[in-house]
Subunit: 192 residues, 6 copies
């Protein structure tokens, strides 16, 4: 690939990376067939890399009341509001795969209010967008509204924490000029 | 103290926390005389706690082109834009102490454009606010403007990463209803 | 297809449409293999249908200084700003085909400032977005800036008129609840 | 009149216009005593002129549940929000005449919420403004609220389509620098 | 007149007002032929009435570098941005009279950027709008830009103070529901 | 003190001020131990000074349904929204003293929704912020909501008038570059 992982910061050479980071990169490469640019970009700062992915995994990989597809919906919806090209395109691919649905990622990226999702998922995204865009106005009424859809306080923490983590991630991607790998655009779009 | 660490989530009992987290809490308590509520609130989720503070320390404690007071200025300024009570009041205290200046924290919290800081620091805060509020518009021109004030690309990463990390932190504090400890209000206000 | 063309208004039966409108629908169906939902939705109002497509064709199909791919770029970029699901997804497909580029539509939909397009195209989209979002601030300086990229006054009219026409179109689609046909999602994504 | 019809594009010479357009201009001139500048400005592009006025007439001249004065109220209110000088001043005149009311146009142009209109008309304008300014948030609840004031789905289409059509019109007027004819300022202001 | 001076607060009976206030009301009535509703509305609070008009007169009636018509332009432009019906309609009348121009008030009320005014007046209104809408961003650069148009520091104070005073006045009018007297609508519109 | 009262306008020499203004300055100096910079800055314009403080006293010093601490809460909250350094810091001090509470000023300055105040006070500040930021949308429903918390129409006038008066004051302070005196930062922070 001739394009850099990020426009404004150099990706370090993989063989000079600390052992744990190189191992993570090679593992993801083996599993996915390529190294997503977020790994290469953040490897420029090993300590931040480690904290970023530890946080990411704590929110996105653990068990809980939200399905993995729902977590990716939060990522795609709030990242589109933040106009983060990398996150919308990369996590759009993951959402299509996890939801086994070739349409939902583009729908929520443009306007989640009109997406083919459940009322419970719309309430989840309403709250995620409030956290992303005006968290200072979150109130007890938001918790009550989410509880009415069956969300526990722990689910609410998860929704908020995912939206908050991608508030961080979107900003890093926009500042570094992180590029979505070309592989992401087509992933999960084919009917099986 | 009769008030909870956060309004909407319970702080776990310190003696039931994992060893590494309990140790960190006790260490900060010994050093500061109290446990800042961000530690108690995030201890509700040990894995997120660990990633959060690892990220925080990687950005705020390391050496680099920005002074520690300047990093706190970024925190206070962007957290005020996000209306995060905990972060403005707690980091306002740290900024007063690190800058040895009883006025600057209140000044940047209300309107950094009018604060008694250097033109270089204003340029730093202009960029931090752009990252906090409209990172999608960051462009090469921002890097050029910062370079004209002597900021290296690594400094720019630091400014952006601190603003981005507190984009996360501010949202968590606003959703959980995290309270600033009363000790923070007066810290660093007295002439020595 | 089980889903209606638009959520909130019924599509008329094709065999009851006025002759000219039925002919247009059948022609597009023969050419594309399906009838895009904008045709079915607007057929509910024959006079508006005729005016809408006459306007559309006058702007999108004629010769001129903007390539057809560039016109679709304007559509996708401004429609994303207006959160119009139908227009982003349908015209995203057309853009991919006209630009012979499977990536550009998703890039401009999320953040045109970071898309792999020329500086001239960025200036074109800067202006299109100004027309879409704050046309009241358009000034002679915008014309000067565009002229510096080689745009004639007629090109500027075209950019503005396309952005203005989709200001209309996006609003109709959002109010009627117009749905993108499933065919659009995958069109133009495959390397040939 | 020494001032051009529009600041940034030349009005074509009337005697060189296509026959149908020249006829329309002369007809309106005979009826009104002058040619409103929107006709002269758009005549620069005959195909767009034809589509524009066909669309305009389909929305503004036909029978339906909205009175002609109410349609003009939608135009003036949303055009003021878009800061379109031509549309507010020209359609303000038409509104005064159609409503036989010398006050209502200035009232809705400044703040429709405080105008001397019926609650049903305020609901109509609330929705028109939502279409003008944030159509992406239109939901079924808006339809329900309008139905409670007696608006049919066809009326709702009309409100939305008028607001959407003037979203287009306002942008064209602001980009071309279209000037309100001086005749409009005083029309309909005199008690009869 | 059957309509109250303000929708939400009663106007006091003129003969029960303090002497100085009654005298002012009768004087303006004699001069204008009617009592503008701002006098009747604010008379509800005699001390505030006195301070309000003392402030008003100090800014609007004194000599200085701005013509009286220019001061009214500031009022109409910023009051339109604040959607204050009373101020736009009442001061629009005064502006027409003071400028001896039947068009300028409607032009600046809708979009001052397109009004038939001088570049110096546009710079004055750019600054007045900045004071009205985002005074926190006023900087030395604004003073420099105004100086380039020949404005002294005292002129700048005047522009800012008028915009600031009507920030107060617009808010009072919107909260009390102050109504423009019908006399204002036609004043100054006739060629002499 | 080496810093001027305001950055962009000179403070007049106290001994050259008109007698009434000099007396007021000396009185406040005797009472407070220093002359707050708002007095020195506005003394540049004696007539405006007199009107300003007459208005201020009419709103802030009289008896009424709002406590003096509540009035200062309105000032601090709305002045923070307007990013007025002088008003937040100076009135923050007064609020701490009048409320006998060292925490409340910083709390409402950052995010009044999370402050340790009563629901009645939150409703008061919700309305004050609406007046400060979007007074054009004030409606009868706001009066009803406030009445439910026991506010009379006169109280509502007071809330609105204080928010409106500081809309003026904040703009003057931001334009003149008024500086908070250093004395304010620490006032009212000590437990007694």
């Amino acid at each position: 690939m001739s394009q850099p992982a990020a426009k404004r910061f150099p990706a370090p050479s993989i063989d000079k990376l600390p052992e744990d980071i190189r191992t993570r990169l090679l593992t993801v490469q083996e599993k996915s067939g390529f190294i997503p640019n977020v790994f290469l970009t953040l490897a420029y700062r090993p300590d931040e890399f480690r904290a970023f992915f530890a946080y990411h995994d704590a929110l996105m990989e653990k068990e809980g009341g939200l399905s993995k597809a729902e977590r990716e919906m939060i990522v795609v919806t709030t990242s589109a509001a933040n106009q983060c090209q990398y996150c919308v395109i990369a996590h759009g691919a993951i959402l299509r795969i996890r939801a086994k649905n070739p349409f939902v990622a583009d729908q929520v990226a443009v306007n989640y209010r009109k997406a083919d999702i459940t009322p419970r998922q719309k309430a989840m995204l309403d709250f995620a967008m409030k956290v992303a865009l005006e968290a200072q106005e979150v109130s007890d009424a938001d918790f009550t509204a989410l509880a009415a859809h069956g969300f526990s306080d722990d689910d609410i923490w998860d929704i908020a924490a995912i939206a908050a983590f991608f508030a961080l991630s979107n900003r890093l991607a926009n500042v570094t000029g992180m590029r979505p790998n070309e592989e992401f655009y087509l992933m999960g779009r084919m009917p099986k």
